[in-house]
Symmetry: none
Subunit: 220 residues, 4 copies
DNA sequence: GATGAATGAGACTTCATTCAT
DNA sequence: GATGAATGAAGTCTCATTCAT
């Protein structure tokens, strides 16, 4: 009876799998070579299809890239947003769990290369930059800001400048991916990411707790 | 008396200035557009010469880039090395002055874009990466490591894992340039670099001083 | 009783209708975009079938075009040939009725776009040109020539150079379709086709009647 | 002394000649194959240069085409405008001389293929159509209309609807080029252009003269 | 030294046609 | 019959590099 659930002929199942195969090939090559230097022919070849086939599924190179982002990063943001909405403990715990979770779900994986790629090339591809800003940066920023506001509202954080602190919190994540995809591979053993994040959080959260005398609005 | 300092006729001074004019044009465009996307024709035009002339002074695009690096970053490293060698105060002071000096001499200027460029594109240009590793990263790393070793030897720092701590110290500088040349331009007001470095140094130096109970070898 | 005229089940009627649906879609697009620029995928989509299905009915793009011509222009020529054969009035009347009928049956309709298309693109598609020459131009030319010969034989026309006068008579029709499908859409109100044809016929027939002193062999 | 007039080295003279060589090759191929079907590589090869060279002189295919039009048709229009402005005989004579001159300067030459090309393909290249409309059609139309207005103002023509009569006068020219570049090559001996124009002018001018009882506003 | 014309490999994208299901 | 996924040749345009003058 188990075959009754899939009545599609094989080639059709193949078709359903194609976009994923292409996206998998694309993320590999985008991460490896960047956006501009990745040739669509290589993406196609790695997915085991011809150049033209790629265009059956993606309108052009930029759309392929957007699809990669939508497929790899955006869902993780959605999950994180849900977690944030449901969480009901101390805001410091929430912040810590989100940032450590970011490393587990994004930072440690290939997909982190996409973040590095965007910082590296967005200047040359404005439409891509705009898309990424909208779909990733804005949502991520809103999420972090909302955690800060939650903490302030509940009296768990000092009333800091939310915009600035948000960016300070983004900084170490940006650094980790930059490091990982540039100097990291040339260096051995250095910069243990989890320890780094842990240390960063110790400092940052300490600066956010109420009652401490920090006066800098950025709280770093 | 005005001619005593330079007895060459004007056109010859012009000729001698060519490489500098080309390097100035090149750094502008490399920083603005990255290595691969910068067209040599644009470099030549900005320097007010023809494309062919560029090849009289630089063998090819990669050599031009190397010359830009040698011209802009390497001297600053040399100066810093001298300062380190001559310094005779407390190692924590030395470390602080080198990193704040890095911001004044490099981070705050256009040339910081070269650092970002290398992190962004070295994957696609191995020879460039090797050159930069040799001329900049290795020397910079050695310099920082030597400061740490000096501090340890003089009993001013705890005996930490020098290699790892070196990279931890590099990290905030890398972050600042990455930020400045990617998300920075899209955000307003955030991440005041000097405050950020100051805060970082407070923490890092605190972790390096002897007598504090930190046990993590990365000391971050 | 409703089924007595068509005993086939609906899907079979549908199947029989396929070629016509495809031809209808094809003529629309050929007229709109020309031969080379019409994509078979668009033809198929407009007919509501897949690209592959189109190839079940037509060997390739050229055969599809030939079928369009056979389906739309050729029958009209056949009808005209019959009319000519049966007509027994004055040859001038015959000529006039054929040309005005051409406007009613072809010139005023979408199918006139096919004529324009052929003049526009036959240079790039020799096989198409040969087919059209054979199926349309030769037959049309023969028909017009035969009317002239009839008129001369019956003493209703002067003995003119039939070949040349035939082409002079074709010219205004060619002009009308060219105009209609190129500059026409950009201009308002101008060139009323029926008035134009009428005026042309007045002149041409006047030149063909015996007893007038015209000496030019083209009789225009 | 004859060499004193040209002090340029040969390659520079070559450079000056390049655009003309390319335009000559381009007009040949555009006329032969149309706009869409002409490959830039073929244009380059015919001019004896490589593909890339073409792009040194013309930004893209459309600009090349515009340059061809500017180079071949536009000057003739300018000349005609001057002739019209200077003419001081009877308007009928002026009209006749302009239309016969059009045949001598344009209709009889390769460049007439450009006119046919535009009627054939403008639907698929709106920017091209707009350019041609502006640079050729509008100017040509204005010129013809001005002749009609001149004739009416001087009492040499009846007060007709200028817009419509202008288009009627354009029609035979359009027909001649259409014929010449489509069916013409397949037919022998037919449609003697000068005789055709002559006959057309006889009729049209007769219809324009005052005192004749024609009542149709288009005067055809 | 200086020029800038010329090259040609290589990238993206399109579309008629085929064929396994 | 019907589908639509897959192919790959072909076309436009870019740009690092060369070289005759």
């Amino acid at each position: 009876m188990e075959c009754s659930l899939d009545t599609k002929p094989r080639w059709e199942r193949r078709k359903d799998a194609r976009p994923q195969e292409l996206l998998a090939a694309a993320i590999d090559l985008f991460v490896e070579r960047g956006f501009a230097s990745t040739r669509l022919e290589d993406v196609a070849r790695r997915a085991g299809v011809s150049k033209g086939t790629l265009y059956l599924y993606f309108e052009n190179k930029e759309e392929l890239f957007k699809a990669v982002v939508r497929n790899s990063i955006v869902p993780v943001i959605g999950d994180a947003e849900s977690s944030v909405a449901e969480f009901d403990g101390h805001s410091a715990e929430l912040l810590r769990s989100v940032m450590m979770g970011w490393w587990d779900r994004i930072g440690a994986h290939k997909v982190s290369g996409i973040i590095k790629l965007v910082t590296a090339e967005s200047g040359n591809f404005p439409e891509l930059a705009a898309f990424y800003q909208e779909e990733v940066i804005n949502r991520g920023t809103r999420m972090i800001s909302s955690m800060l506001e939650r903490g302030i509202a509940r009296g768990e954080f000092r009333p800091v400048n939310v915009t600035q602190v948000t960016q300070v919190l983004i900084a170490p994540m940006l650094m980790l991916v930059t490091w990982k995809h540039s100097v990291g591979p040339c260096e051995q053993g250095s910069l243990e990411p989890l320890a780094f994040l842990d240390a960063f959080l110790d400092i940052a959260l300490h600066g956010l707790l109420p009652g401490t005398g920090a006066t800098q609005s950025t709280a770093a």
